[in-house]
């Protein structure tokens, strides 16, 4: 048995262990495991309140095999700043990396001020946002990351509304506007790209921001077995471009061919009201224009 334990210690695949209580098909659980796998053992993670925190840390159990702290919903970047400052004063910052992570609610909305402060002060921290595009832990409420026309419990479609009427906040570009050295968007649908971006981010000193698109079967009303499919469709429609912004220079992963957004929208309960009956052609066309704009702005189609 000790031999086995030793063997396992060499591995990093289980730094976020099985046995946690995430829903079947949870994109965030998979992405978080990939993030900590890329980071390795010499890391301290500060985690916002949210699904990831809840499904990994029910006392007295923990799914984390790295030092991990949860404080509150909106202060993760500030807590991580304190962790980083302490490591600096202890002379350990060259060996130990700091990751702050949270969902889109804590990142786009309630914790944004603290994140902006962390960026501006130049802390050597990787901030990871798991973006499932609504407040899922509290039961699918609209956030600043919820895409246009998506149904949530606080942006329900009805006779007088078509769901969430505002576009998604462009947080990667807001992060980049702080002048931080590295910003990246990844998707749980493309784990090798995700792994590369996390490793790259952690090799750079200073504040980094990586946003990972993570489908939520419960919140989106998708089949748990289709999480990766939907993550890839979001990328291949152009709705979720996998960009990198390094020292102000933006590059993007190319997509093989333009997939119509309808392919992505269908099968998701959160967009069903756009496709029912004769369908909301105008609104679907509007979403298509958003995808087209991304394809154009980020030059997504390989020539």
């Amino acid at each position: 048995m000790p031999e086995l334990v030793k063997e396992r210690d060499k591995l990093v695949d289980h730094l976020l262990c099985s046995g946690h209580t995430a829903c079947p098909g949870c994109g965030q659980a998979l992405a978080a495991r990939l993030v900590v796998r890329a980071a390795g053992r010499n890391v301290i993670i500060v985690n916002s309140t949210g699904c990831l925190e809840i499904f990994t840390s029910k006392y007295p159990e923990s799914a984390w095999e790295v030092p991990w702290l949860h404080s509150l919903f909106q202060n993760t970047a500030a807590v991580a700043s304190g962790v980083e400052a302490a490591l600096k004063t202890l002379g350990r910052l060259d060996k130990v990396r700091v990751i702050a992570q949270g969902g889109d609610g804590s990142t786009f909305d309630i914790g944004f001020g603290a994140i902006s402060g962390m960026f501006e002060r130049g802390h050597d921290i990787l901030y990871v946002c798991y973006d499932n595009e609504a407040y899922m832990n509290t039961g699918i409420q609209r956030s600043g990351s919820t895409p246009t026309y998506a149904r949530t419990t606080t942006s329900p479609p009805g006779k007088a509304s078509l769901g969430n009427l505002r576009p998604k906040k462009d947080l990667p570009r807001i992060a980049a506007a702080h002048g931080i050295p590295y910003v990246a968007v990844a998707s749980v649908g493309y784990p090798m790209d995700l792994d590369r971006k996390i490793r790259k981010a952690l090799s750079i000193r200073g504040p980094k921001y990586v946003q990972i698109h993570v489908p939520c079967p419960l919140g989106w009303g998708t089949e748990p077995s289709k999480t990766i499919d939907y993550a890839r469709l979001a990328v291949n429609t152009g709705l979720y471009p996998l960009i990198e912004i390094e020292d102000g220079v933006t590059t993007a992963i190319k997509i093989p061919t333009r997939v119509p957004v309808e392919e992505y929208l269908k099968g998701q309960v959160r967009f069903r009201h756009l496709l029912e009956g004769t369908g909301r052609k105008e609104e679907i066309a509007e979403i298509q224009r958003m995808a087209d704009r991304n394809i154009e702005v980020y030059d997504l189609i390989a020539k």
């Binding site: 010499n42 301290i44 807590v79 302490a86």
Partner: protein
């Protein structure tokens, strides 16, 4: 002749903090605390303080940053006032729940609305239920001495709770007084480096801040309550050792001034006690048996010690720069509960005074004492203006 230097309170407090060698300090401006972090910043700039001094973007983050640093195993400090304390309120509760020995100075100020920057104690009293030990200083010497003691208390492995040192805004940090600050060598001997019991460390990975279901939450809160109670003798012990080391009495649970044979005892917190002592001296000269009990440790409330100190007194006159709106004078209510159902219970009157920086005069205090000697006052505001035509005031 007094030992020490004539020095502004904020500078003295900052020097006391520096002597404690905090490794991480978070700073955000708010009147009247700002002068303290300004002094700390200038000491960092002059190379007199080796610390990570971090200007954050708000008090919520100021408290969160020291939370994270403390959880990583280093000594931390921050300071705030009023709206800043209210803004960081959820972190204040969180720090205590996570059992992190953060030390914070709160320069007491009123709370908005109306906006008012001057002193009262509504801010810190509103945090009394947060799980922080709260110590109130009478003057700048004691403010400095309490800072030293605060780290000792907070980091004691039998305690591991945050400590808030409360100083009356403007009255202390802006005032020049003679303050005797010990040498670095003396403080190093009194306050050894922080030895965390638990910390974030890849060599020994821990999960901190786990969530609990109803089957375990209550026990976690119960443990804080038990520790609060158990910290009462530790606060006394730390004060005794302070006196042995520095030859000066400071801290502890409360100070008794001419209480032992008194039939009327005024109970007060912070800088008001100085004026109250003058009133007591004056009334003593006129033959009245009056004294002051200056409460230093508001949380944990030293109920047994207060009972022992005040039993046999006829009148207790609680004067407070705080109130529970829609309730009553908070400390008066708590003292009534200390005596409830026990023999030799005095009449306990509560007075609200000096809100928003209104002067607390000797006449105000004499009025309160006289009134309470005549009748039991549940709660009365002292010093309300009668020239304003406000509904109810002149009724």
């Amino acid at each position: 002749m007094l030992k020490g230097r004539m020095i502004q309170g904020c500078r003295a407090i900052a020097e006391a903090v520096t002597l404690c060698r905090p490794r991480v300090i978070s700073a955000y401006p708010i009147t009247p605390q700002t002068l303290i972090v300004e002094e700390l910043a200038s000491m960092v700039a002059e190379g007199e303080l080796d610390t990570e001094f971090i200007n954050v973007e708000g008090e919520h983050s100021a408290a969160s940053l020291v939370l994270g640093a403390s959880a990583t195993g280093v000594r931390v400090f921050t300071a705030t006032s009023s709206q800043g304390l209210l803004y960081m309120a959820e972190v204040v509760f969180n720090i205590a729940g996570m059992r992190l020995p953060v030390v914070m100075v709160n320069a007491n100020r009123s709370v908005s609305a109306p906006l008012n920057i001057w002193n009262d104690q509504q801010d810190s009293i509103s945090m009394r239920d947060s799980g922080w030990i709260q110590l109130y200083a009478e003057n700048n010497q004691e403010a400095c001495d309490l800072v030293l003691q605060a780290f000792r208390i907070a980091e004691d492995h039998r305690v591991m709770l945050p400590v808030m040192v409360c100083v009356d805004g403007f009255v202390l940090p802006h005032a020049f007084e003679v303050v005797d600050l010990p040498s670095q060598k003396e403080v190093d001997a009194y306050l050894p480096p922080y030895q965390p019991i638990y910390k974030l460390d890849p060599d020994n990975p821990l999960t901190m801040g786990a969530f609990t279901e109803p089957d375990k939450y209550m026990e976690a809160r119960y443990m804080i309550q038990r520790t609060m109670e158990a910290s009462i003798p530790i606060i006394e012990e730390v004060a005794r050792e302070f006196k042995r080391t520095f030859g000066r009495a400071a801290g502890g649970l409360f100070e008794k001034y001419r209480v032992d044979d008194a039939s009327t005892v005024v109970v007060a917190l912070g800088s008001m006690a100085g004026t109250t002592k003058d009133v007591v001296d004056d009334l003593r000269n006129k033959g009245q048996k009056v004294g002051v009990l200056r409460l230093i440790t508001y949380r944990p409330l030293p109920e047994e010690a207060l009972y022992e100190a005040l039993k046999g007194t006829q009148n207790i006159v609680v004067i407070e720069k705080a109130l529970s709106l829609g309730g009553s004078a908070p400390l008066a209510v708590e003292l009534r509960s200390v005596f409830h159902g026990r023999p030799a219970s005095p009449k306990i009157s509560g007075f609200v005074i000096g809100l928003g920086g209104r002067d607390v005069t000797t006449d105000d205090l004499k009025y309160a004492i006289e009134k309470a000697q005549q009748q039991l006052i549940n709660m009365e505001f002292i010093g309300l203006r009668t020239d304003l035509e406000l509904e109810g005031i002149n009724a």
